[in-house]
């Protein structure tokens, strides 16, 4: 992407705002969709969260200080939105976030927007047993291939702690896959 400062300027200028926002959408809608979908698992929920994320990004652009990269700022908003969504949905259903996740994973076979096999479903089941933070780190590293440095900026956690989290997550998943 072009110089970020110039691009943010275009996003804030009412004359160039619409074109710049279209550009932002085209660039980020796919990776952000994947990131959100990996957390909420279901397409309809991912669609809701993605739209809210972009609306929040648009509304808060004027407050964006440029202290972090636009990319990590947007990922941070998307992550917070997705996790809040999961918690609210679980609360509404009167169950825990873990129980909700297990329920969604169990229904993956019937999901028309899931094109996976037994191994992929088993992997999702293994991820569902991890603590929330380890799940997030594993998904971002393994599926989305986000660098630890970027992840550190998004999640506000040190690179060392992220590496440790990923290591623990991998061990637990491998154990689950070999024993189930």
């Amino acid at each position: 992407m072009q110089d970020e400062k110039d691009f943010i300027g275009e996003l804030l200028d009412p004359r160039t705002q619409n074109t710049a926002f279209q550009k932002l959408l085209r660039e980020y809608q796919r990776p952000l969709y994947n990131h959100i979908r990996n957390i909420v698992l279901n397409h309809d929920d991912a669609d809701d969260v993605l739209q809210n994320t972009f609306i929040k990004v648009f509304q808060n652009l004027k407050n964006f200080k440029g202290e972090s990269k636009l990319f990590s700022w947007m990922y941070r908003i998307a992550t917070n939105e997705a996790i809040t969504f999961i918690h609210q949905k679980a609360k509404k259903n009167g169950i825990t976030s873990e129980a909700l996740q297990n329920k969604i994973v169990d229904n993956l076979k019937a999901d028309v927007y899931f094109d996976g096999n037994e191994i992929q479903i088993k992997l999702q089941k293994a991820i569902a047993i991890l603590p929330e933070k380890q799940q997030l780190v594993f998904k971002m590293k393994y599926f989305e291939e986000i660098k630890y440095e970027d992840m550190s900026e998004i999640l506000g956690t040190s690179v060392g702690a992220l590496k440790a989290s990923y290591h623990h997550a991998v061990k637990k998943i491998e154990d689950f896959m070999n024993t189930h």
Partner: protein, 138 residues
């Protein structure tokens, strides 16, 4: 059977999640419609209902407040006693005749009664004030 590992030598397992066909194309237009516009709407002054309401309210208040003001501050037609006294004191050219024409007979007698000092009092004054004798001789 080979144990399951997630190391880099193994083929990566993907999530298997996919969006509906044409989802991203539709999202663009859906989002554009949802975004708040930053252009302020131009509303003509005369079209503002509130302006007319405020103007009408101001006129009503004005009409109501004028009579109230007049009633509160100008209801008394009598002259304040202090103001009258002050007027008489500063306009000293009012003579006894002037007062006599204005005052009734009863009022004058009242004044006379009030001034009835008695013979002893007059004598006292005359004794203590030598100058008065000179005035009387004159």
């Amino acid at each position: 059977m080979k144990p399951f590992t997630l190391n880099d030598n193994e083929a990566k397992i993907t999530t298997g999640f996919k969006p509906p066909e044409g989802y991203f194309e539709a999202l663009e237009s859906k989002l554009s419609a949802q975004l708040p516009t930053n252009d302020p709407k131009v509303i003509a002054f005369y079209q503002r209902k509130t302006t007319w309401l405020y103007a009408a309210a101001a006129v009503v208040i004005l009409f109501v407040s004028i009579p109230i003001y007049q009633n509160v501050y100008h209801s008394s037609t009598e002259v304040d006693a202090l103001v009258l006294e002050d007027y008489i004191a500063t306009h000293a050219d009012i003579s006894a005749e002037d007062l006599a024409t204005v005052l009734e007979k009863e009022d004058l007698e009242k004044i006379k009664l009030e001034l009835n000092l008695g013979e002893e009092a007059i004598e006292d004054v005359l004794l203590n004030n030598n100058d008065l004798e000179q005035y009387i001789l004159d």
